[in-house]
């Protein structure tokens, strides 16, 4: 084809910016060490709750999002940018569009991570998984993401390569889709610099959150990594990519289908059945497009398997791609209702995500680092032996992590569901099911320690490599400029051949990708609005009292929802254990929804009025006094700290703006009501010998817990 030769154009000289790549690589190493260490800590806290050192800043609920944010957005995020900045420049034969934007992007992203590391332990959180950061940081993320987008598209525009390689397609899909996801899931109404409420409530909020949560996995942990795979795997293997046609098919179908599958996180929930079914069927259809990536990766090594034996980088990559294939098969299986009924809320899901995180993201990142760092520092890897050791201990680590977690997930699920011949629960005491899997949790930590040990060995190896090498920030390159006003020969043949056309038109390509992603997005978003009218209203469901609202925010601050669900599913084993199953109409005033995604502790949807106030007081102060052997940490500061009621007015106003029917002017008298209710609870406790005043945080939390799930009971007794 004529467009490939341009011999009459003179070569242009330019430099690749390697300094920015190196900076991101350093960030990967630092944040990986931090994020995984926090992971080890929270894994230990599940066995020994006192490992928060009785500090509110280090309880499981507050630092679990620190772990997830650090490994997803800091470790994986920086790895994406490291690989993207390296490969994009070379695939475009151009320096990054703007050094300034590169720097803003780098430092802006690190600032976001630091802000996350500060605010999350302080309990400043939206409670929405993988989107916990509060609104000012959300805005900062948006700005930094736009900076990245400008920098990336700017580079693509001034490229010296006519066609965009498949890696770039994945980068484009990533950048535009993450922007859409982030913005729509972060629509929230601020009441102060550190507190906001999502505009969605209940079922609607749940659907938007898991549309986001699912696609954060898709477009932050998957598509950019496929882009990286398409560059670094053939580079490391020195083999051509197996199938260009497969790239086309699996790229377009992957980004099209992925966006639909979010509701599979809400099977058997109060979400309408048809939305749940959509989640299931699109997850099933996702197998082939996901495996397209795996096949193309593995078959690229066809004829080069002898290299895999000797080349540790390829070993890492092969395990990564295989783990990707396993996780993307398991995901659709977990979306089948009968499998989900067992696996949801258990450790099975933790195992599943760690196959993806440790295997796919972790190992691909390590492979890339071992390939890239010696290249950047123009030297050989310091020690192949250490890298091999890292590979094996990391691999064993993944097995020691995942197998016990699968085991424990199934064990606990079966214990939850078992009945005696007399028709009562065989394990009525939830704690019993938790203590049963303690050993599995211990083995899991061993797996984590192995994996971490491998990571530390890699750090040493890379630092030694860096020390022995010499870094050059500006790598000279040359390429002919693209001819302008070229007339191309028309492409004859199938659409597959015509795809070549759009590969040289980044603008049209991006528009098409956005459309393909938005089809699913829109059809999923439209229901979120339809759902509002699709929810049968329950007359007895009333807005929270001001004290309960404050208590709810303490529940959010302490992230109780990271261990306790508020979603009784329609199973006999759950309604017998907890009470009536969750109805969509119960959550209409819940900004945000607090259904949770994991039951490390029992469900709390019907907790209200189950136990007296005194029980809750003693339980919060030290759970083991009323529940011997409990693995919940103490929340003793709740009885010390004074509830901040200065923001009650703002909270009531915000809720009213969002559609919660508080009467006009109620905000002025809200605190009177609040104090009255608080005094009643305090009086009840004092009567039973507890020395507590009505202004403490624990009073508000008790008020909220006693309200939970009771509105529907009122309706039943009313009848």
């Amino acid at each position: 084809m004529s467009d490939l030769t341009s011999s009459n154009t003179s070569l242009e000289k330019f430099n690749y910016d390697n300094a920015i790549v190196r900076n991101f690589a350093y960030a990967v190493m630092v944040w990986g060490a931090v994020g995984m260490l926090v992971g080890l800590l929270i894994a230990a806290q599940i066995i020994i709750p006192s490992l928060n050192f009785n500090l509110q800043y280090s309880t499981f609920g507050r630092i679990r999002p620190l772990h997830t944010n650090a490994v997803i957005f800091a470790f994986v995020g920086n790895a994406i940018f490291m690989g993207l900045y390296y490969s994009l420049q070379r695939l475009c034969k151009a320096r990054m569009f703007s050094d300034l934007l590169s720097k803003i992007h780098f430092w802006g992203w690190q600032l976001i991570i630091v802000l996350a590391a500060v605010t999350l332990p302080l309990g400043i959180t939206t409670s929405k998984e993988y989107a916990e950061l509060e609104w000012p940081i959300d805005i900062l993320i948006t700005i930094v993401w736009v900076v990245l987008a400008i920098n990336m598209f700017g580079t693509i525009v001034k490229r010296r390569e006519r066609h965009m390689y498949v890696a770039i397609w994945f980068y484009i899909a990533t950048v535009v889709t993450v922007a859409v996801l982030h913005i729509f899931n972060s629509l929230e109404l601020p009441i102060s610099l550190t507190k906001s409420y999502p505009i969605y409530a209940g079922v609607q909020d749940a659907l938007v959150q898991w549309w986001y949560g699912h696609n954060a996995v898709a477009f932050f942990l998957t598509t950019p990594y496929l882009g990286l795979m398409y560059y670094f795997l053939p580079k490391a293997a020195e083999r051509p990519v197996y199938s260009y046609r497969l790239s086309i098919i699996h790229f377009w179908t992957l980004i099209f289908i992925y966006i639909w599958a979010g509701p599979h996180h809400l099977l058997y929930s109060a979400l309408p059945d048809w939305a749940q079914s959509l989640g299931t069927v699109f997850s099933i259809m996702l197998i082939a497009p996901s495996w397209g990536g795996m096949i193309n990766g593995l078959l690229t090594l066809r004829g080069a398997w002898d290299k895999v034996r000797d080349n540790v980088i390829l070993k890492f990559m092969v395990v990564a791609v295989t783990a990707y294939g396993m996780a993307t098969f398991e995901g659709p299986m977990l979306s089948l209702k009968n499998v989900n009924a067992i696996a949801h809320f258990t450790d099975w899901i933790i195992a599943h995500v760690h196959i993806g995180a440790l295997g796919w993201n972790g190992f691909l990142t390590f492979g890339i680092l071992y390939w890239l760092v010696p290249k950047l520092f123009r030297t050989e890897l310091y020690s192949k032996k250490m890298a091999n050791f890292h590979f094996w201990i990391g691999f064993v680590g993944i097995l020691f992590y995942a197998i016990p977690m699968y085991w424990s997930g199934v064990t606990q699920a079966l214990m939850w569901k078992q009945f005696t011949p007399e028709g009562v629960l065989l394990y009525p005491n939830f704690l019993e099911t938790l203590l049963q899997i303690k050993t599995m949790h211990m083995i899991r930590i061993t797996g984590g320690l192995f994996y971490y040990a491998g990571f530390v060995v890699m750090l040493v190896n890379l630092i030694k490599t860096i020390k022995q090498g010499s870094f050059i920030g500006e790598e000279a390159a040359e390429a002919p400029a693209l001819e302008k006003n070229v007339t191309f020969e028309p492409i004859k043949g199938s659409i597959m051949k015509k795809h070549r056309l759009i590969e040289r038109k980044p603008f049209q390509f991006t528009v098409l990708a956005v459309v393909v992603v938005l089809v699913g997005g829109l059809i999923e978003v439209i229901p979120t609005y339809l759902i509002k009218s699709n929810i049968p209203t329950i007359a007895s469901v009333k807005p929270y009292t001001p004290l309960e609202l404050q208590g709810r925010d303490i529940y959010i601050r302490e992230a109780c929802n990271s261990c306790h669900s508020q979603l009784v599913r329609p199973f006999r084993s759950e309604t017998e254990r907890y009470g009536e199953y969750a109805k969509a109409g119960e959550f209409v005033y819940d900004h945000p929804f607090l259904w949770g995604s994991k039951r490390t502790g029992p469900d709390l949807l019907r907790e209200g009025k189950k136990y007296p106030n005194l029980w809750h007081y003693l339980h919060m102060d030290d759970p083991t006094t009323v529940s011997p052997g409990s693995l919940m940490p103490r929340y003793s500061w709740l009885k010390e700290q004074i509830l901040d009621i200065s923001n009650t007015e703002a909270k009531i106003n915000a809720m009213r703006t969002l559609g919660v029917p508080y009467e006009q002017g109620y905000e002025k008298i809200a605190n009177t009501d609040l104090q009255k209710q608080a005094e009643e609870i305090a009086a009840d406790l004092q009567k039973q010998g507890i020395d507590v005043t009505s202004d403490r945080e624990i009073i508000a939390l008790i008020a909220y817990l006693q309200r939970l799930g009771t509105d529907i009971k009122n309706q039943q007794t009313g009848k």
């Binding site: 053939p234 199938s243 048809w274 959509l278």
Partner: protein
């Protein structure tokens, strides 16, 4: 423009039309499930487009490949003229099993949506639940009929040491939080004295344990303990009478007189 593209577009168009019609009909009926049909229609349309596009992607390439395979040696990879920073791309077709897998999953999706939302079968989550509960209730009824279940009307005091030992175990696991290990009471009332809030005697105690007194914080135990267990723990509770707990809570309720036993005694006198 090849025929297949035209055919696919026509198919998509027809699907869209039927969908619009379906919506129109649904609106006339003002059916509550309008949204379900709307979504289903959109879904079918999307699937049709998806299927058609895969067919189109593949159609042009399969035939020449077969022709090429006949003439050229199969082992020689077909290299495209693409080259990016030293990375080349082969022009292999997607493996046949991969495409087969894809078609199967798309077909499975259509069948799934049909079975769950069009066929009219009762298989929503709540339907499943009702089914499950019906079966459980039938089993329970059977047990009651055969007299295998003990209830508050027929419970008697167990005096067997093994039963009381079981009762003690249950008490230790579930009751000591509120009633203390020696029955002296903390959150809950003292069980060692003659005063009972909800009536003494095996039947009342059985009933209080079984149904609980949620307003006062005594939870319902019938979903967690089987009747035998309730009988055992109730019998154990009655053995506290007259013991001296370490920190007895003040009496609550009224003195319990066994009305069934007392008249008999007076008669004897």
């Amino acid at each position: 423009m090849n025929k297949k593209v035209l055919a696919a577009m026509t198919a998509a168009g027809i699907t869209a039309l039927t969908q619009v019609q379906a919506i129109a009909q649904v609106k006339q009926e003002t059916h509550t499930d309008t949204y379900v049909y709307l979504i289903l229609g959109a879904l079918l349309f999307t699937l049709a487009v998806l299927f058609a596009s895969i067919m189109i992607f593949e159609s042009g390439e399969r035939k020449p490949k077969k022709a090429a395979a006949a003439t050229a040696t199969v082992e020689t990879p077909i290299l495209t003229d693409h080259e990016y920073d030293g990375i080349q791309e082969l022009d292999n077709p997607a493996p046949a099993w991969f495409q087969f897998l894809f078609y199967i999953t798309i077909a499975a999706a259509v069948v799934y949506m049909f079975v769950y939302h069009v066929s009219g079968r009762q298989n929503s989550s709540v339907d499943e639940y009702i089914q499950e509960m019906t079966v459980a209730q039938a089993q329970k009824d059977e047990l009651i009929k055969t007299g295998a279940l003990i209830n508050e009307n027929n419970a008697s005091v167990l005096t067997d040491a093994a039963d009381l030992e079981k009762g003690k175990e249950i008490f230790t696991a579930n009751c000591v939080n509120c009633h203390a290990a020696d029955g002296g009471g903390t959150v809950g009332p003292n069980l060692t004295d003659d005063y009972w809030i909800h009536g003494g005697g095996i039947k009342n105690v059985f009933s209080t344990i079984k149904y609980g007194v949620p307003a006062k914080g005594m939870i319902t135990w019938q979903n967690q303990l089987n009747p035998k267990q309730i009988q055992q723990v109730a019998s154990y509770v009655l053995t506290f009478k007259g013991t001296k707990p370490a920190a007895p809570k003040a009496p609550e309720g009224t003195i319990w007189v066994d009305s069934t036993a007392a008249p008999k005694d007076t008669l004897k006198k």
